[in-house]
């Protein structure tokens, strides 16, 4: 099966391991992710902070190109790109004049047929039902699922998970054997767009997130966004300085955790590219784990 794919700039650069793990996981389930031809940057925070029309035109060009290519589902693993795609689609579909104007700006037409999938929706739609038979290593760890902002907010536009205490990632992680913990910073902001321009703010925001996860016994923090990853992982020395202690909890993309569970190698999943070493303790498979898993409640 072939699906549209928009990696976005981070996944082609600093966060290549996220892209690699998404593609490797898809392949394991016989899905080929085909990049939107000649895609461009979504404009991210910079564009919508400075100019609304630019912030809509840049994602709209990608949506129009995807449409032209005949895609319907397009997988957008970066939560920020996913947010810009969803917002653009929403605005253009609810405002005809604006759609006309943006079509004119980019000299292409977007009709509105693209269904943007974030990484959890992709897993949910194409992978989760088939994963159990493929699991070779249970992911027997206490995991803090960190959603951040853009995967769940604004709910009116995304209509994805609930904004307070979302559950979709937790459900996926339990499927592969994780003990997904209850914690307080699931949807707090990591500082994202200010990563380079206001580093102290980012150390504080990300520091609180990492600290709470560690305090509640998480062995790993699971993310689905390259910005969340780089702030929690690459900014760890600033975080540790802010917290006044050394926190060693590693940060994994959800696709890396799933990949590990279905037997893809750490190397292929890019664990070596992380700043915080991923030293997950080897655990013996236990039968009792099975029982615990089935007792877990599903989302409302």
């Amino acid at each position: 099966m072939k699906l549209g794919f928009y990696p976005g700039c981070s996944l082609e650069g600093m966060s290549r391991e996220y892209s690699d793990s998404v593609v490797a996981l898809a392949k394991r389930f016989d899905i080929e992710l085909v990049q939107i031809p000649d895609w461009n940057c979504c404009g991210a925070t910079a564009a919508h902070n400075l100019n609304k029309e630019l912030s809509l035109s840049l994602p709209a060009r990608n949506l129009a190109l995807a449409e032209k290519e005949g895609f319907t589902d397009v997988v957008v693993p970066c939560a920020a790109c996913y947010s810009r795609f969803s917002t653009t689609h929403h605005e253009l579909m609810h405002n005809h004049d604006l759609r006309h104007k943006i079509n004119e700006v980019m000299e292409m037409e977007y009709k509105g047929t693209i269904n943007t999938l974030n990484v959890i929706q992709f897993i949910d739609k194409y992978i989760i039902d088939k994963i159990e038979e493929k699991i070779v290593n249970k992911f027997n760890y206490k995991a803090a699922c960190y959603y951040g902002c853009l995967l769940v907010r604004p709910n009116k536009v995304l209509e994805f998970d609930r904004t307070e205490d979302p559950q979709t990632m937790d459900v996926v992680m339990r499927k592969i054997g994780a003990d997904s913990i209850d914690w307080a910073f699931k949807t707090e902001c990591c500082g994202a767009g200010l990563s380079v321009s206001a580093t102290n703010t980012v150390a504080r925001l990300s520091g609180k997130i990492v600290d709470d996860a560690e305090h509640r016994g998480a062995e790993v923090i699971i993310v689905a966004c390259p910005m969340c990853h780089s702030n929690l992982d690459m900014r760890r020395s600033e975080i540790n300085k802010y917290l006044g202690k050394k926190v060693t909890t590693p940060i994994l993309y959800i696709t890396q955790a799933l990949g590990l569970a279905v037997g893809i190698s750490e190397k292929e999943l890019g664990f070596n590219r992380h700043f915080v070493p991923v030293n997950l303790p080897k655990k013996a498979e236990t039968v009792q784990k099975e029982e615990v898993k089935t007792q877990k409640v599903e989302v409302e």
């Binding site: 290549r16 609304k52 630019l54 840049l58 980019m106 707090e188 380079v196 580093t199 700043f275």
Partner: protein, 192 residues
């Protein structure tokens, strides 16, 4: 944005916000949930609920303070405020509008200099190549902000972990991207 109010021509800042974003500051009843949930309210000079109040007064002095505030630049658009607002006052698009207006009127707070430099360097990278060129962006930002030594300590690890691409990725139809810039952000004012 369900407002059944009659349309009145309104030249106040709140009126312009409504015109461009459809969001009505008047709906805010000052419960303060946005300020309580805002992750950066402690960095701001006026927390989000106070910004709403300053828009409500319609006093030009308040409006001036809003456009010159640090707050509008520290806002991360994390969308926590709208998620928790009982009146569904959609603050993030208002903040986007206030930022662009603040630049247009040359009133951007000096404390926002680095943030704006970063955004501009980011957009310049896209304008040239169609995609973000991270190394180019970093160097451009360093020059614009004169923070030459910032983050130098993580560079060796980034290189060792193959996190930096040395060459930019160029998309084919760069002319189309330049056109998009010319018809939007570069149309109204010079952004350099």
């Amino acid at each position: 944005m369900s407002d059944n109010h009659n349309h009145i021509v309104d030249n106040s800042l709140a009126g312009k916000v409504k015109e461009h974003t459809g969001v009505l500051a008047a709906r805010c009843y000052q419960c303060g949930k946005c300020s309580a949930g805002c992750p950066v309210s402690e960095d701001m000079d006026y927390p989000p609920s106070l910004i709403m109040r300053m828009l409500q007064t319609g006093d030009p002095k308040d409006e001036e303070l809003v456009l010159r505030s640090k707050s509008i630049w520290y806002c991360l658009t994390c969308e926590m405020c709208i998620a928790r607002c009982p009146m569904e006052v959609d603050i993030p698009p208002m903040m986007d509008y206030l930022r662009s207006e603040s630049i247009k009127q040359n009133k951007a707070n000096p404390a926002s200099k680095n943030i704006i430099s970063f955004h501009k360097a980011f957009l310049d990278s896209i304008k040239q190549t169609g995609r973000l060129y991270e190394l180019g962006l970093t160097l451009d930002f360093k020059v614009r902000s004169m923070k030459l030594m910032q983050d130098m300590s993580i560079v060796p690890t980034m290189l060792a972990k193959n996190k930096l691409n040395f060459l930019p990725e160029l998309i084919k139809n760069r002319r189309n991207i330049k056109q998009i810039f010319q018809k939007t952000i570069d149309k109204k004012e010079e952004t350099k």
